[in-house]
């Protein structure tokens, strides 16, 4: 019992450490790609680490009092780290026994809800607009994540992410899982807050939206949470929908998975660079169409394709 406990704890810490330490690097790579497409040289890939260090070293200025405003940054990062231990990263998720796909969906939505709360608690008109936009984005994107995972659950007859990933591993590509994967990818663009869906931040319209009143260490925690979330969800995408090839060696598998995650994030950046920002009504209309088309994946799953 004790050995099992220590082993699980170690695996959890490994996942948390990997997510925390690698996500700024991924962000750095994404910035570099963005710069290249802008004909710029761009900051060094290590820049996000320095950004975090600088922000963490600053004075903690608070726009308003109140427990919600004070506690939300740490909670947001914690919720994302909880997601990190529920998602398989090159090996089974350390806390897989504690929660299935439905828990993962709830935990994934948590950080968005918390950022929204931070906005409403900071008593700024820009933050309020940003938070209401965040809410509308959550409501239109969550169903797509759910439908994509339900397709997997239906095919694998399992509600655990590990079960779906294993089934996908053994049975190879299928039409329904491919459509589900694409829908998940499109939703990832919005969850990561990238163009054309960075509507809730929209610096030029509402000056950063929900996070407009955040600075210093608080902003660092939010930034870190957002970077980690896009990193972990990209893992979820490649592990569940595109798990091949797997070599059986943990290190080799880790490396290939990280490479696949980088490819996914590079694609996210590419879409980000070639698009202007949509208006919130246009984005909701777009995701409505994506949700309806992802139902096709469910239909294919029912007929066994």
């Amino acid at each position: 019992m004790t050995i099992w406990f220590v082993k699980t704890l170690l695996l959890c810490l490994l996942n948390v450490a990997a997510a925390l330490l690698l996500s700024p690097l991924c962000e750095g790579v994404m910035r570099k790609i963005r710069a290249a497409l802008h004909s710029r040289i761009g900051p060094p890939v290590t820049q996000p680490y320095w950004d975090l260090l600088k922000l963490l070293g600053k004075e903690d200025l608070r726009a308003t009092g109140g427990a919600v405003y004070a506690g939300v940054p740490a909670l947001t990062l914690a919720s994302v780290l909880l997601l990190a231990v529920l998602v398989p990263m090159a090996t089974a998720a350390p806390l897989a026994f504690a929660g299935d796909m439905i828990v993962v969906l709830y935990v994934a939505a948590m950080s968005g809800v918390l950022i929204m709360l931070a906005g409403f608690a900071s008593a700024s008109p820009y933050a309020s607009i940003g938070s209401s936009r965040e809410m509308m984005m959550l409501l239109s994107v969550e169903p797509i994540l759910a439908i994509a995972l339900i397709v997997g659950a239906f095919k694998a007859r399992s509600l655990t992410l590990g079960g779906i990933a294993n089934w996908q591993m053994q049975n190879g590509p299928s039409i329904s899982m491919a459509i589900g994967g694409v829908a998940f990818f499109l939703a990832l663009q919005a969850v990561a807050g990238k163009l054309p869906f960075d509507i809730a931040e929209a610096e030029q319209e509402i000056m950063g939206g929900s996070l407009v009143e955040q600075s210093g260490p608080r902003l660092a925690l939010f930034r870190w949470a957002i970077w980690t979330k896009q990193f972990v969800l990209a893992f979820l995408l490649v592990e569940v929908f595109f798990p091949w090839p797997r070599f059986g060696n943990y290190l080799v598998d880790l490396v290939t998975t990280v490479v696949k995650v980088l490819v996914v994030l590079a694609l996210v950046t590419l879409i980000d660079v070639v698009n202007p920002r949509l208006r919130i009504d246009q984005a909701m209309g777009y995701f409505m169409r994506v949700a309806v088309s992802s139902l096709a994946a469910l239909a294919f799953a029912v007929i066994g394709k």
């Binding site: 008109p125 163009l195 054309p196 030029q204 660079v273 698009n275 920002r277 919130i280």
Partner: protein, 568 residues
């Protein structure tokens, strides 16, 4: 000029006579393209109605002047343009010191709103019946009853410090909340304070306070500087279209004094004006992209723009603020040796601009963000007297280069780009078309560039009491300079009106019932330039140590990777 039809002159004179009845004091023709009527102020509104309703004249600007030392009275002068007839009409009314009032014309011409508030602030003549007589030009802490453009107020007057002042802003309608945009805001390069009244994300109305940048440039022009010093100050009215303002000022003085500018100088002015339009439109395209989050357009448009700045530097020695204009011509020639280099540079800019145009025109997300957004109806555009690309995108076919030809535009004529839709997309199309048209114009003007002197000699002093109105089509629309000559080798009155001045007045109608997300791009699609509008001068912070960096050094410094990731 030869463009003016005698029958039109007669028609205008008859119409004004009929409108003014016995109130017409004097009619003069200071220049072939200018008619100057002096009337009793009681007939002002009636004559303006005749001009607008019967002759379809377009209001340009009002000029309030303290002429007490000369005539014993103030004067208010409204400037109109008959675009198709290439004619300026000046309508002047003396205002006695005992009765500082004049009938407001804003109800006839909504676009006269700011102009009337401005002469009220500047010389203290009250427009009676003005719908919105709030302060416009002066700072909120400026004392009541001190009118800076009166002759008895010295240029270096310092008002006492005031406490607890705030702008006079309207309250939001019931149920609406206020979302402030400004005075400092990410998409505003300069301070301006917009209060948006919103319900959810829908805009019910807005109110604005601008003129945070007013620096009293006009006052300096008629009290401290001399005729030939003012072009340098005029050039610093704006950081983008500086050459436009110095040209416009010089042309106004040249017209007032009857000075002929050599042909070569007129061609070089045309080349420089069009080069400014090229880099300004590329700058705008980048900023418009940035406003809707399309940073790639910003980066690529500015990359293409940079070589244009180098060409300007090659010609004048400066990327911007060339210091080339002087009364009677130019201070600096365009060397014939660099013509091939200019033509080659232009070809590259043209190729890349066409590539960007094709990418922009084919982008469906851009269409979604700009089509039907910020629509300015043709009727309202005419009423608010909008100028430049916003006017042409709403189907109002006006362009100073055609309506009042100056420099060499009579010899290298332009093709006007117009659109009918009046939305942001139409304004994008107009500017992109003008960008390519300007490249063609520069190329043709370079090829046709005549030899000869670049400045005419001015032997006699410029006589006082002459007026000159000059317009120049800036990238943002028509800029107007009005000069009334004085003694002491300086103008008695110098009035500047930048194109953003009328264009900003159209914004409230363009954002009504829009979404908050559409406000920045709608404002951006006007290409606002607050420093022009407010006649600002910025001054560089001086360091004690003087060091000249070469181009390569500056590039190297900005690209150096500092140890530890800090700032170099």
């Amino acid at each position: 000029m030869g463009l003016i039809d005698q029958a039109t002159l007669v028609r205008v004179k008859r119409a004004v006579e009929a409108g003014a009845k016995d109130a017409l004091l004097r009619t003069t023709e200071p220049h072939a393209d200018t008619l100057h009527f002096t009337i009793e102020k009681t007939a002002m509104r009636a004559v303006v109605e005749v001009l607008v309703n019967e002759l379809h004249a377009r209001f340009l600007i009002s000029v309030g002047t303290d002429e007490r030392p000369v005539t014993g009275a103030f004067s208010v002068l409204h400037v109109f343009s008959l675009d198709r007839a290439h004619l300026f009409i000046l309508l002047e009314a003396p205002i006695s010191e005992n009765d500082l009032r004049i009938e407001s014309i804003t109800e006839v011409i909504p676009g006269a709103n700011w102009a009337e508030r401005e002469f009220r602030d500047a010389i203290g003549v009250y427009p009676e019946g003005h719908p919105d007589p709030r302060r416009l030009l002066l700072a909120d802490d400026w004392p009541e009853g001190v009118y800076p453009l009166r002759r008895d107020v010295p240029y270096n007057y310092h008002p006492p410090r005031a406490e607890n002042v705030r702008p006079q802003l309207r309250e939001p309608p019931t149920g609406a909340s206020v979302v402030p945009m400004g005075p400092f805001f990410p998409v505003l390069e300069e301070p301006a304070y917009w209060r948006l009244f919103v319900e959810g994300e829908t805009i019910l109305g807005c109110d604005a306070r601008i003129f945070y940048n007013h620096r009293g440039i006009e006052k300096l022009g008629d009290s401290v500087l001399t005729y030939n010093e003012i072009p340098f100050l005029a050039e610093r009215i704006c950081g983008i279209c500086g050459f436009i303002h110095s040209t416009c000022y010089c042309q106004a003085v040249e017209k007032a004094a009857g000075i002929d500018v050599p042909r070569r100088a007129r061609f070089i002015r045309t080349i420089m004006l069009e080069l400014e339009r090229i880099h300004s439109h590329l700058l705008w395209l980048g900023i418009a992209g940035h406003i809707i989050g399309f940073e790639t357009v910003l980066m690529q448009a500015w990359r293409i723009r940079e070589p244009v700045m180098w060409l300007c530097e090659e010609i004048s020695g400066n990327r911007k603020t060339y210091g080339m204009n002087t009364i009677g011509g130019l201070r600096r020639d365009l060397p014939n040796e660099i013509k091939p280099k200019l033509l080659k540079g232009l070809t590259e800019v043209e190729e890349q601009s066409i590539a960007v145009r094709n990418a922009v025109i084919g982008d469906s997300t851009l269409h979604a963000r700009t089509k039907g957004v910020g629509v300015l109806a043709k009727d309202w555009a005419k009423k608010v007297c909008v100028v430049g690309p916003p006017a042409r995108a709403s189907g109002v076919a006006i362009d100073a280069r055609i309506d009042h030809p100056y420099a060499a535009y009579d010899e290298v004529p332009i093709l006007m780009a117009t659109q009918e839709a009046g939305d942001t997309w139409a304004r994008v199309l107009v500017r992109v078309t003008e960008l390519l048209e300007s490249i063609r114009l520069v190329r043709e003007a370079l090829q046709a560039l005549p030899e000869g002197p670049i400045c005419s000699e001015i032997k006699e002093e410029i006589p006082p009491g002459r007026v000159g109105v000059s317009v120049v089509e800036a990238p943002r629309g028509e800029a107007i300079h009005f000069v009334l000559t004085g003694g002491d080798n300086r103008p008695y009155r110098w009035r500047v009106r930048a194109p953003t001045y009328p264009n900003l007045q159209a914004l409230p109608a363009m954002v009504a019932n829009a979404n908050i997300a559409d406000v920045p791009i709608t404002l951006g699609s006007l290409d606002p330039c607050f420093s022009c509008t407010e006649r600002l001068e910025t001054i560089d912070r001086r360091t004690n140590e003087v060091r000249v960096y070469s181009h390569a050094e500056i590039l190297g410094l900005s690209r150096r990777k500092p140890p530890g990731g800090g700032v170099p």
